[in-house]
């Protein structure tokens, strides 16, 4: 139907029909086979998501110190985090990061998706592949590569900026670091997002578009007023996914720290703070509590986008 990732089965199932009782042998066999297909996923889900989550919550209720060992401390880790300016300043930073990066990236992705959908680009499939390649590059490699490009002393972008009249630009200074990471994130994710939007655009029913063309609607109106609303479910899903990703920003600042000392503090993003607290400070319990709090923040922010979708009447 629409371009969402999950679509519900439409065929009426055995249990709906009134002619056969719900617990027939045939229905039981169907249910068993159904569970057999789903159980590997559920097992993996349990082992790799539920159990670690439970363990993290358990660990977060303890405190471990060099003097005194590990003791049960209830919610004291949580009250420490809620009052921790260092943690929340990181959260604010990634919210700002997401608030700028996601809309800009989605606009660019929609532009490319539309261009491909309209067929105005020659060798469309080739370019779609090229645009998708940054998504296939491991994040660490992207960050290293961009680090070299932005490098303050010898990076090519610095020379380019100089040639354009902006001398002594330091793309990794404390004022330009976040914009630079936004640029990197847009480069990394636009291809993936535009592919999803392209697929969504391709599923827009032809007759609606043809009716608009017959009405002499200008092209920009067709794109913005006809096609865009029809791919709204895909866009909302992308906002949801990208928000979760943006709030977990970690690899790019970790790598770029090596090119520019003193700019990325150890609490620059929440995940970076969790990493430093757990690994370098050996405070795994506090790190676990931070991870739980961050998880709740991410759930709160991303579910908000889904509620937005519901209010517009997407779910019946």
């Amino acid at each position: 139907m629409s371009g969402t990732a999950i679509s519900a089965p439409t065929r009426p199932t055995q249990g709906e029909s009134r002619s056969q009782p719900r617990h027939s042998a045939f229905a039981r066999r169907r249910d068993r086979r159904g569970s057999a297909f789903v159980s590997p996923f559920l097992l993996a889900f349990l082992l790799f998501m539920i159990v670690p989550l439970g363990y993290a919550i358990y660990e977060s209720l303890f405190t471990s110190r060099l003097i005194g060992g590990t003791v049960f401390s209830g919610f004291s880790n949580y009250s420490q985090i809620l009052g921790s300016g260092m943690f929340w300043s990181g959260v604010i930073r990634v919210i700002i990061f997401g608030a700028i990066q996601i809309p800009v990236m989605l606009i660019i992705a929609f532009f490319f998706a539309t261009a491909f959908d309209l067929g105005v680009a020659r060798f469309g499939r080739f370019f779609r592949t090229i645009f998708f390649i940054p998504f296939a590059v491991p994040v660490v490699v992207s960050a290293l590569m961009w680090g070299f490009l932005f490098e303050p002393s010898y990076g090519p972008f610095v020379h380019l900026a100089s040639a354009l009249g902006f001398h002594n630009t330091n793309f990794l200074s404390s004022s330009l670091m976040l914009p630079s990471i936004i640029v990197i994130a847009i480069w990394e994710w636009t291809g993936y997002n535009s592919l999803i939007l392209y697929t969504a655009l391709k599923s827009v029913p032809r007759d609606i578009v043809e009716a608009a063309i017959l009405d002499d609607t200008p092209l920009w109106k067709i794109i913005l007023k006809v096609k865009l609303p029809m791919v709204r479910p895909a866009i909302v899903m992308l906002i949801f996914l990208n928000t979760i990703g943006a709030l977990q920003l970690f690899v790019e600042p970790l790598i770029l720290n090596n090119y520019s000392a003193g700019v990325i503090s150890l609490n620059w993003t929440p995940v970076l703070y969790i990493y430093n607290t757990s690994i370098n400070d050996a405070q795994y319990n506090l790190g676990a509590a931070m991870a739980v709090v961050l998880g709740l923040v991410i759930v709160a922010i991303s579910v908000t986008s889904l509620l937005f979708r519901r209010r517009k009447g997407e779910f019946k």
Binding site: I67, G245, A261, N280, D281
Partner: protein, 462 residues
């Protein structure tokens, strides 16, 4: 359409699938722990390190000893030990340098299994392992028999309250390491006092605004503290237990911070992060004329030397009081035995052999290991002090470095150096870019360290 239960199930399955998809698509989670901070406190070592010696070539009747170390070429010493001690077979693995190995060790000791019998450990990291009772007291294994063979400073570093927790191996007495052609070009002779350093640095920068006498990278906490030690401004007091003194804002520390901040303000020194290679290329090209460097630094520096080969000389460290002879040390390693070890006697025997026999030192003092010994018979031997190296031409730098080893003041490390090293990278990073002064950084670091120590349960005095 669908029954309510089926819709709910579909919704839950959809949410679960989306959350898995989100986990894949989020910008951070697709990579495992990447390379760490520049202070080396990273967790990038793999669990399956290559076996560099021993391993399968061990006979099944010999006692197995697992040994972790990153010194290049130390496998030669291990092979020699295995040859001359057939009842023990040491297997060597390289788990990564510094912080990478300490993370693995901490995890293994906490988990109760997986730790080696012996591992290389820098002096500043040992106290954190002592306080967690991860390392064995070696006195029952005869360690005190070797006490007089070691530089007193090194022996005090591995001792705590009558126990000896590791055998000291190499260290890095510091000296004024300079390119003699560059200094001669600017008509400067190696300065004997820090006051003279300030004058010479100003003079050099005046003659060439693109060159400096020295570079300052205060985010390198080990280096910073070592030089502070020479100035009588060592910022920690710790002798085991739960009492620790933290003092980054006392008069001696303020004087030290002010001295360097003046040099930064007048641009007499550069502030390049010494975690990268730029520092070494600056030295090679003459952008920086000299460095306050340790005895082992040249063996790391030589890889970046292209045009200044043969020109490097060592001179005694500048002094704060004219005529004094106070030294400093930068880094160095010890070889403790871990409490998880099933064969502590054999592990101790290996550790003692590696650090206190001529047989071992005749191997590890040569390249590629090039270790600088705390072991006095080698340190003071004529053949060692008269060694020449291609990077320093016909001069004998070990004469200076050996002499510098004699008078190093005590440097009691606090038992939380991994945290301090990471914190310093953040706190002192602003000094590199000029965003804050040394004094401000010192004050911020004092607050951060006091807070951390208190949170860890220590009784903190300032």
């Amino acid at each position: 359409m669908l029954s309510k239960t089926r819709r709910i199930t579909a919704g839950v399955a959809g949410a679960a699938a989306i959350s898995l998809l989100a986990a894949c698509s989020s910008s951070g989670s697709s990579s495992t722990a990447a390379s760490g901070t520049s202070t080396g406190a990273s967790a990038s070592a793999s669990a399956s390190a290559t076996v560099l010696a021993g391993g399968k070539s061990c006979s099944s009747s010999s006692t197995p000893v697992m040994f972790w170390a990153w010194v290049p070429g130390i496998s030669r010493a291990v092979t020699e030990f295995n040859k001359t001690h057939p009842s023990i077979c040491v297997t060597l693995e390289d788990p990564g340098a510094g912080g990478a190995e300490y993370t693995l060790l901490n995890n293994a000791m906490k988990a109760g299994s997986g730790a080696p019998d012996v591992a290389e450990m820098e002096f500043d990291e040992l106290p954190s392992f002592i306080i967690q009772k991860y390392v064995e007291n070696l006195v029952p294994y005869g360690a005190n028999n070797y006490k007089s063979d070691f530089a007193p400073w090194a022996w005090s570093q591995v001792s705590q309250g009558g126990a000896v927790y590791a055998m000291p191996s190499d260290f890095g007495p510091m000296a004024f390491y300079y390119d003699q052609q560059t200094l001669a070009k600017y008509k400067i002779t190696p300065p004997a006092t820090w006051a003279q350093v300030a004058t010479d640095a100003a003079s050099l920068h005046k003659q060439n605004s693109g060159a400096y006498l020295l570079n300052l990278s205060p985010n390198d906490l080990q280096w910073l503290m070592d030089v502070m030690g020479q100035a009588g401004a060592w910022p920690f007091q710790y002798s085991g237990g739960s009492n620790v003194t933290i003092n980054w804002t006392g008069p001696a520390q303020e004087k030290f911070a002010a001295y360097w901040q003046n040099l930064i303000n007048s641009r007499a020194v550069s502030t390049v992060n010494d975690a990268g290679t730029e520092v070494n290329t600056n030295l090679d090209k003459g952008v920086t004329a000299a460095a306050i460097d340790s005895a082992w630094a040249p063996s790391y520096f030589v890889a970046d030397v292209k045009q200044s080969m043969g020109q490097w000389r060592a001179a005694p460290l500048p002094q704060w009081t004219s005529g004094a002879d106070v030294g400093a040390d930068w880094g160095g390693s010890t070889y403790p035995v871990f409490t998880q070890s099933k064969h502590p006697a054999q592990a101790a025997e290996f550790s003692e052999w590696l650090t206190s026999t001529d047989a071992s030192w005749n191997i590890v003092k040569t390249p590629p290991s090039s270790l600088f010994p705390t072991y006095l018979p080698t340190l003071n031997s004529g053949s060692f002090t008269s060694l020449t190296y291609p990077i320093s031409g016909t001069s004998q730098p070990n004469q200076v470095f050996s002499a510098a080893a004699k008078n190093i003041p005590a440097t009691p490390w606090p038992p939380f150096m991994t945290q301090a090293l990471t914190q310093a990278d953040t706190t002192f990073g602003g000094v590199l870019s000029g965003k804050e002064t040394m004094q401000q950084a010192f004050a911020a670091f004092q607050t951060a360290e006091v807070n951390y120590a208190k949170a860890q349960g220590f009784d903190v005095s300032t």
